[in-house]
């Protein structure tokens, strides 16, 4: 049997004296699209950061494809095959979109020892072509004259996806990928993520607020409540879970 893509056991994490995650357990099977939901303040972002390596685990284990990554800093987790997006897309605003992706491709090559010594000052043409193809594929072709700082919110998100995907990650961690989008853009983003996951065969773990996105993308849902996983299962089962209904509907049921 293949090991799960991601296995989290007994994870505790927090900031200073405040412990936010308490004994979190989570298993993500290969090819799964796992959505973590929970009310505001439930610890979604902390869990996300702990998985990325941004917040250290105080206890517990995070195992990626059978390899313990609990003690690894963020960049080593990326090199191991985990891709990560930010809630507010982070890009290199002074560089052109293509340069953004080229930096990612060069970082990937350097990390795998594929970067040959070179006296070039311009990026290798093969990498530039690859970056441009990636941008075209995500609908960002022809924006290359200007720095990325002037891109719209949605285009920044797509550029960030392009940077992440150029490293060919096998697990994508997306932190509220549709945050701040209008509903039309949101549907387009869901279609895009759906297509990417189909084409790359990557496993997906995301935190999300919007129910349409949660049930449109998710094949499995975990509910965080006060830093603990209170339910985990198929979307319909979670929807029917009495405790989950109490958490949400009991408090007005509007926010997820």
């Amino acid at each position: 049997m293949t090991p799960p893509t991601l296995s989290v056991r007994g994870l505790f994490a927090g900031y200073g004296p405040v412990m936010i995650l308490k004994d979190v357990a989570l298993t993500v099977a290969p090819g799964e699209r796992h959505v973590v939901i929970g009310p505001n303040g439930a610890g979604k972002t902390t869990l996300f950061r702990a998985l990325c390596g941004e917040v250290p685990a105080r206890a517990g284990r995070i195992v990626f494809e059978g390899r313990d990554v609990t003690g690894l800093p963020g960049f080593r987790r990326v090199r191991a095959g985990i891709g990560r997006s930010f809630q507010v897309a982070r890009i290199f605003g002074e560089m052109t979109p293509a340069e953004n992706v080229v930096v990612a491709l060069e970082a990937g090559a350097a990390a795998q020892g594929r970067a040959r010594p070179s006296l070039r000052v311009a990026p290798e043409p093969a990498l530039v072509a690859q970056a441009e193809a990636m941008l075209a594929d995500l609908g960002l072709a022809g924006r290359d004259a200007a720095p990325a700082a002037i891109l719209s919110h949605g285009d920044r998100k797509r550029l960030e996806l392009a940077m992440m995907l150029s490293l060919r990650p096998r697990l994508l961690l997306l932190d509220e990928p549709t945050a701040g989008m209008a509903s039309g853009d949101r549907r387009a983003a869901v279609r895009l993520i759906d297509r990417i996951v189909r084409e790359t065969g990557a496993t997906l773990l995301l935190t999300e607020h919007d129910m349409e996105v949660v049930f449109g993308l998710g094949t499995r849902i975990s509910v965080l409540h006060y830093g603990e996983v209170v339910a985990s299962g198929a979307p319909e089962a979670v929807r029917a879970d009495p405790f989950v209904r109490e958490i949400y509907l009991g408090r007005g049921g509007r926010h997820a």
Binding site: E54, V78, E94, A107, A122, M163
Partner: protein
């Protein structure tokens, strides 16, 4: 769009030609001064690599130029049989080695003013060690550093004669500038720039941020050490004052005056600084007052510095027939 390599090569060739023509145009005092300016330009160019490309504000560059100067002085005085170019290489290594040693500690805190103050503290430490160690001549430093002789196969050149040492300074300076330009524009420079723009984003592309910053620090340390080594035979003396924190602020001054973010900015800054000092040499305090006021003006009113502003004006002038919709981007880390 201009092609980067020819544009840089042309600029460098023009500068070298101008520098080599100087001995035929001005007196020996000014030629000596031009040698110092060339060395200062290298100090500024290496600081610019750190500050504008890698995003590190070091207030301790004097430690590295002093390391290079003392290494060269010791080799010239104690081991004259070592070829001078090898001594220069050793000085660059001394600068890089010290940078790695300091960087391993200081780079743990790169945020806010911590890095500035840590590098300042470590360079003062170097200052004290130089002033109190007999190998380094304590407070007096090392004096009587000879100008070397270059001998390779075909024959030998005595650099003590005429302006020959000045020519060597210009050639080594130009080679160092070319190397720094290459680093700024290369794959490595792009990674440095990515880290300056957003270190977290860079880390989540798999970039080892601390290692890359250490590399930037070491490269700048090597170039700074080399500059220090070039100065030792020129002035024939090295003293602990070379490591005083006041010396560390000079490359910062050159860079901001000339234009941070523009590759040649620090060179322009070094020339302007020397001109102010030379013009006010008989009036104590005037050069401090003028450079201080210029620096304030740069920070408060002209953030691009002299060269940055000139380039922006030129670009605006050229763009006038067809105004662009988007504002011109700030020059990022190394337009030629």
């Amino acid at each position: 769009m201009t092609r980067p390599v020819p544009a840089f090569a042309l600029t460098l060739a023009a500068l070298v030609a101008l520098a080599l023509a100087l001995p035929f145009l001005v007196n020996r005092g000014l030629v000596f001064l031009a040698g110092l300016v060339a060395i200062n330009a290298v100090l500024g160019l290496s600081f610019n690599l750190l500050f504008s490309t890698a995003g590190l504000l070091s207030f301790g560059q004097a430690a590295f130029s002093a390391a290079g100067a003392y290494a060269a002085a010791l080799l010239l005085l104690r081991l004259p049989e070592v070829p001078f170019l090898a001594a220069l290489a050793a000085s660059a290594l001394a600068g890089a080695g010290l940078a790695v040693a300091i960087g391993l500690v200081a780079l743990r805190r790169t945020e806010g003013v911590y890095f500035a103050v840590l590098t300042l503290a470590f360079s003062e430490l170097v200052h004290v060690v130089l002033a109190k160690t007999s190998l380094f001549g304590r407070n007096d430093g090392l004096t009587g550093i000879p100008r070397p002789r270059l001998s390779y196969g075909l024959g030998s050149v005595d650099l003590a004669v005429g302006d020959r040492y000045y020519v060597l300074v210009i050639l080594v300076t130009a080679a160092t500038a070319a190397a720094l330009w290459w680093v700024t524009r290369s794959r490595l420079g792009r990674a440095f720039r990515a880290i300056r723009l957003d270190a977290m984003r860079a880390a989540y592309l798999g970039i080892d941020v601390r290692r890359r910053r250490l590399q930037a620090f070491a490269i700048a340390g090597a170039a700074t050490g080399l500059a220090g080594a070039l100065a030792a035979p020129l002035t024939s003396i090295v003293s602990p004052d070379l490591a005083h924190w006041g010396e560390s602020t000079k490359p910062i001054l050159f860079t901001l005056l000339g234009g941070a973010g523009v590759f040649w900015g620090p060179a322009v800054g070094a020339v302007v600084y020397a001109a102010v000092e030379y013009a006010t040499r008989s009036l104590a305090g005037a050069s401090d007052l003028i450079t201080g006021a210029l620096l304030l003006a740069v920070v408060l009113a002209v953030p691009g510095g002299i060269l940055g502003s000139a380039l922006r004006l030129a670009r605006r002038g050229r763009a006038r027939p067809a105004p662009r919709a988007a504002p011109a981007p700030a020059p990022a880390g190394g337009a030629p």
